[in-house]
Symmetry: C2
Amino acid sequence: MNPTIKDVAKKANVSIATVSRILNGLPGYSEDTKKKVTAAIADLGYQPNAVARGLINRRTQTIGVLFPNVSGMLSSEVLEGVERAAHEAGFSVIVCNTASSGSRTLKYLRLLQEKRVDGVIFASEDIKDEYAEIFKEMNVPVVLVSTASQKHNLPFVRVNDFEGAYRATEYLIHRGHRQIGMIGGSNYDPIAGVPRMEGFKAALTKHSLPFIDKMLVTNEGYRFNDGQQSLPKLLHQFPEMTAVFAASDELAIGAMSAAHQLRISVPDQLSIIGYDNLKISEMCYPPLTTVSQPLVKMGEKAGEMLTALIKEKELEAKSMYLPFTIVERQTVKRMK
Amino acid sequence: MNPTIKDVAKKANVSIATVSRILNGLPGYSEDTKKKVTAAIADLGYQPNAVARGLINRRTQTIGVLFPNVSGMLSSEVLEGVERAAHEAGFSVIVCNTASSGSRTLKYLRLLQEKRVDGVIFASEDIKDEYAEIFKEMNVPVVLVSTASQKHNLPFVRVNDFEGAYRATEYLIHRGHRQIGMIGGSNYDPIAGVPRMEGFKAALTKHSLPFIDKMLVTNEGYRFNDGQQSLPKLLHQFPEMTAVFAASDELAIGAMSAAHQLRISVPDQLSIIGYDNLKISEMCYPPLTTVSQPLVKMGEKAGEMLTALIKEKELEAKSMYLPFTIVERQTVKRMK
DNA sequence: CTGAAAGCGCTTACAG
DNA sequence: CTGAAAGCGCTTACAG
């Protein structure tokens, strides 16, 4: 049995109120009683019960974080950042793997509500109306990371996908490429899918390179397999292509794998630029040139923003776009 | 303000005791009052407060899980399994990133203790005496995953590293290799480092291939960079080598990267077999042949074991070794 | 400086 | 079948 505040009160010959004051650094006791109490605490190895505290303070010092795919390489890094920031601010984090399922998400949200978490971080997915309703009901701060919502006014931490894609494409153009293809994500993904395609098109247009349908192949997801299958397709419909922009690193690496199999040398015969800068992007060969999203930092910022919102109810959150950079490695060749 | 059990009691014109019974499926009420209460609950959108429940039941339905490196590819998959099993059993999971730091681990353990988690899963690291002490103090079940402890009698879920390494080496031997090197992990890691080297040596010996020091290079960690640096070293001291066993996939992929740079073709000039079967092992080129640890399943089993222990205090846990397999891809060549 | 008491939102004997 | 009451382990006015 864990000792309670009563036990230490008895041992120190004071009331539990006094023990509580000392525990919480409130004023109201002599040096002497403080010593007695501190000694009793040490003797008993007393640890305050956070559950009891949570009940009375209406604060659990816990946040929930929802990912569509916890073990994904992107989520992992974001989670690391969230956990770090949360812990630093004195909060624990409960992880939830929604598996991109609406019903699971709903169940998790209900669960987090029952557990009375002090806030929630929602990652990489679109906010359905039902979610927004529960957010409202829960009445705790919510911050989005690596996603955003047009309908619901929720603060977010992310990178500007349009800009990132634009710059990636421009990077290729600046290296002398004129026939550029794109392996895109989903057309039904308004958060990351569409903006990256739009950024691609905008960069072409800006440099007087007409966009033609055959330059783009879209996918349902952003995974390795998608990329692997997309490259042959793209090559087939757009054989004169000298460079390709992939909407994610997995897509890019899948494309590289397909290129290897087709005996197309990267970057000599085909240049590739990715998007994300996952850890694998420097592990593959040749190492991938890519748009770097500061994933850990995004998680951290989201964690900081959320805990700040929890601590000072008034403060209005301002969303933030974090800067991206282009990490030059070895998959893009300069055309003369 | 969230409605409480009092609100529904008032609304349904019954006592809170009755509401509680209905909520918990205990016997003792008429169909009629059940209906009234259910209606009131729905009306108010009442959600039981898990914090209050936790206080009185001494059960938080929450477990803690500690990883040395949450965002590592290995941890990620284990976490996915843990989370799945925990959730299925009605538990939430709090993640902790110890960053392989003893003091952080201790702080997390204290925190989990204060939060009164019902159990903890400890991953991929050695159990120091201080940790074991806190485990005892906490008085909740603990299960280890992807690690084990010789000193402390704690149940574990893992793969037999000696066997895995033995079989990997034998795989190479069966493919006709006689000059086999190893890129090992740490000599100071009794859990994964040493057994994998021992398994390697044992397989050689068993097949009458003498082990010589030059055949092995060890590392502090199991990371990509370590592998990258190890291959040239190993090649230097053991140039006649035709195949190498790497103690992790990252090590193997780092070695492949070094091979690429040295213009050594894998598997034509050098065969490589890894250990883990991380997702990257099929994304690199050529896809890596490796010893597959069922990481997600390991997490799942650990989660199941822990929640079972929580539910039935008596039951003694029996550790388990999960089976590994060798996944044949394209980095090992058959010698004639 | 210190303590008795109420209360956070529940569950669980106990009595009827 | 149903309710009054005690209690889980704390915090916080309130009174002295």
